[in-house]
Amino acid sequence: MTELPPFLIFFIGGVIAAVSPNIVRAILTVLVPAVSALLLFNTELGNYAAYQIFSYQGELYRLDELSRLFGYLFHIAAVIGGIYALHVKDRVQQVSVFFYAGSALGGVMAGDLVTLFVFWEIAAVSSVALVWARRTMKAYHSGMRYLIIQVASGMLLLVGAVMLLGEGGSATFEYIGTDSAAGWLILIAFGIKAAFPFAHNWLTDAYAEATPTGSVFLSAFTTKLAIYALARGYPGTELLVYVGVAMTAFPIFYAVIENDLRRVLGYSMINQLGFMVCGIGIGTELALNGAVAHAFNDVIFKGLLFMSMGAVLHMTGKINGSELGGLYKSMPITTTLCIIGAASISAFPLFSGFVSKSMVMSAALSEGYLGGWLVLLFASAGVFHHAGIKIPYFAFFAHDSGIRTTEPPRNMLLAMTISACLCVGIGCFPQYLYAILPFDTGYWPYDATHVIAQTQILFFSALAFIWLQLKGIYPPELRSVNLDAEWFYRRVFPQGWVVVRDAFRKGADAVTYILRSVLVWVLDIVLHHHGPKGSMSRSWSTGSMMLWVFVLLAGYLLFYFV
């Protein structure tokens, strides 16, 4: 009985929720993940639920160290998210969450690529409901872009899987690597979902437009499913080191000048994903442990930050830094919880980010990536700057916006408190997290060198922030959008299409005009010679006929005698 695949429990919960009254739905959102987590906790590692369709062998439930870690993680996220969303009375959101969380779980436990593909796409389709549930035109367009990109990623995955099968290989989801074209296709599919550079804007776009509760769920599952997939399929792929390093660095510039605080969190999430991707690329046991441990912690602290910003949006209806400020007076508990999340993402010692990020950093150094390490260090300082300081500062402190509100509903506070406790708990007692990591490396983050170095980095980043603020150099929050890679598909391509289309129309008009002119000219000539008054169709008099016959006969007579 305990070997029931978690996704099945969630899907059944979703179907029941779809036809249940609100109170039952609310209970189910917490009860279903809790029951499923209990079952998972009591399941031995192993392979369950194999199936066969014609000659294809699939596997619905593979539980090993790696998938179990993400299984625990997604259950924790689903329970916390469920509590956070208890006040929501929107059937669409409540039901889609079951299918979204369930498919994410199905994805990490899929033993083969085709099964992974199926859950990959269910996750895409079910999660877009959390964006559309905002019910604005902006959210509709954003969701549409999100859906197209996510589904395209799934298609690439399917094509890659089919190519692997066609080459006579197996579609068992193990190490894939980049030796074949199929391997590259699948890497791109995973990369799109992991928000690789140039494919990253779906994240900042959709997460900022989703409902307050929706973005909490979105931040937990999609990208972490991709990180899991990369960790299983592409560990030690050196390219990923450079991709990861780039991902840590470039989004922080955008985060500094972005006004929408949930979009700031989106950029900050890409930065965190960068650390994970980098760890996967390095590929040593320590680095992989660091990557997946950081994914684990990120879901919790980034979830906490999204929850605190969701609470602000829920209570004030505003999320732009330029419109907020001074909220600590009316939301002191939310402020405190947000700061705990901020300290965790900034990797303060004793908070969760520190115990996982330091593994990736140490691994980068020990594998000789000194340049990469310097960029990661830069990104570490930067993340404190934009997520650690900017988010709490512009929402809760800075200039008083005059907004007076109250703390969010109790369920929201409870969910945030649980996350905050986990952040501090994991930070102070990392051995419990380390115990469920795939490898036993004997790593311990708390020694004088690491603690002092990290504290120095953070304190002097804060000092820089204070200095820049006091000098008036720090850029003010402005109502604006900043052009990013999405500019190409939101502006250049649509506008380019209009230009090309108009050019085609003009070209077609010109060709038509020329053809018509030629036709008219030809018709004129024909008409001139063959028309009613044309030279070829006029009637001739009998006298001239006689004259011409005479001329012909006379000519004939002449030639006959000559």
Binding site: H141, F253, A381, I452, Q456, K471, I473, P475, S480
Partner: protein, 81 residues
Amino acid sequence: MSDRPNPGPKVRKGLIVFYVLCAGLVVLDFLGLRHAENSLDGVYGFYAIYGFVACVVLVVVATAMRRIVMRDEDYYERHEK
């Protein structure tokens, strides 16, 4: 840069405590509590300098980026019907 913050006396006191803490952290380097892990971080105050400079560079570059990438809030919506 019109709203340059003007800290009150409480905040000023807090800032002084913070500056002292920063100075204390650098002193720890000179006490030899931190060990070098690579060819760069043996320099006294390496992390302090790096953290400060990194953030200033980050903010200055990001602010300069605004000149190129910043558009009106409805930049995309105007063209998306």
